[in-house]
Chain length 309, copies 2
Amino acid sequence: MIEISKNSSNPLPSWNDGPAKKSIIDFITKTTNEGGAEYIPAADRIACFDNDGTLWSEMPVVQLAFVIDRIKSAAPQHPEWKTEQPFKAILESDVNAFKEGGVKSVEAILAATHTGITTEEFDQTVKDWIRAAKHPKTGMLYADMIFKPMLELLNYLRANGYKTFIVSGGGIDFMRVFSEELYGIPSYQVVGSSGKVKYEVKDGKPLLIKTPELNFIDDKEGKPAGIHQHIGKRPVFTAGNSDGDYAMLEYTSAGAGPRFGMIIHHTDTEREFSYEAPQVGSSLDKGLKEAVKNNWLVVDMKNDWKEIF
Amino acid sequence: MIEISKNSSNPLPSWNDGPAKKSIIDFITKTTNEGGAEYIPAADRIACFDNDGTLWSEMPVVQLAFVIDRIKSAAPQHPEWKTEQPFKAILESDVNAFKEGGVKSVEAILAATHTGITTEEFDQTVKDWIRAAKHPKTGMLYADMIFKPMLELLNYLRANGYKTFIVSGGGIDFMRVFSEELYGIPSYQVVGSSGKVKYEVKDGKPLLIKTPELNFIDDKEGKPAGIHQHIGKRPVFTAGNSDGDYAMLEYTSAGAGPRFGMIIHHTDTEREFSYEAPQVGSSLDKGLKEAVKNNWLVVDMKNDWKEIF
């Protein structure tokens, strides 16, 4: 974990000097300057970060890679999956067939891989997987494909009294397993999508069982709702990378006083990938178009980041 | 706010010397003694507290007093409430008629008082109310009827690296308004019952509207589930005062390593009230019977607390 003190002379070493870096430092400086016009008390310094594509790489989405690995390793016990969707699509790596199933596909694979086990069994499965799983192209551990400039930003915010939260469409139970170790974000500062859990005492042992019933989807308009349910305060600093983050950025910026909205724009085909590459397709459109109007910083990964990982 | 340093010679001045006080101090000392056999790393020092009857007085339940005040002040605009349950019962202070309606009664009054407004409007209403509302018998502000020994305990835990959480059947949005000021517990460390919220942009202004749809009831078996959803870790220290806290105490104690369970037993008819008084009726039965077996500390308010408020 990178540690940064409050008064470090260069708190964001992996960021190139320029307007992006300057605007971040200016914001954090002015909002922590006691007595200044734009001072924010420590209790209100809430900073929210999307995860996939904002804090770490999302091609492929890491949790999806986890799910696919789980499906593949359980397939021998489920011969029916060879012909049954969405499992067939997963086993054949047929993205389009999977997408055709929409939300139902996602629910089916989550039910098969994330439920009917205790929360502790699930945690252990994720822990074992994330320690070893590697990106298919880079050969790097997924756990190493965290954006170094964003880690520095998280630390810089925390060194200045900000509380950092993850607010992601990803599974809350999935992210919590590594959020503390990888990002320095404790489990109770993670907001994500979730299924319901059921408490039962089995053979005298109290257990929480993950059920297939959906609890909450933390995406789009769900993000401000998730922030309200978990954090209970409007953030003053929010970073995202897709239109799934639009509502949370909008909600953040509409608050009174100084606010900071940030969009990570994937522009670096060589070092990571670019939204403009035809095989990727962009999940960022509205946010990019309205960034100027909303006074959001668009981070150009290619030009603003000295290092990526 | 009472401040206590880690090495204060008397961290719990409102507790009488005796086995209760000693067992608390022993637990906190041994779990923070680095290198000791029962050391708990700071990241796992999660302490959960019920609110009503554990951190403040619950006769009457404060949120119910709030709801009754809201119903009474809105009654002139609702002549139908004079004959319609559960409103009639509220306006006539008829507890039995209200209880007959069960969960439906609660939902109806929550819908009438807690929904259809923005989260910020609700916060302001609670803030104004809690500043002025007084207990019908003591004449004290509800906000002053916090148990001083428990405030000292919260501070003592925090001074030793514990994170303190509220885990209450009360409304999460209600408690968050005062949790920071009264208990030093930030909004994101409050777990409670909740309705759903809906995000919408109205006249260009993003709003979160409280809807009548129930989201979660944080009571009994719901408490371990609420802890999982919000905190994502099993607590090592839990305090409650009723059988609504049994599951959360049980869940806490079943974890590996040192655990502390505490039951606040209301035994002081003179300074507060006693569960044994016939007009009160006890909501604590199973917990009391099984406290010894579970190694839970039963705090006898009359004998263990030097001061109550």
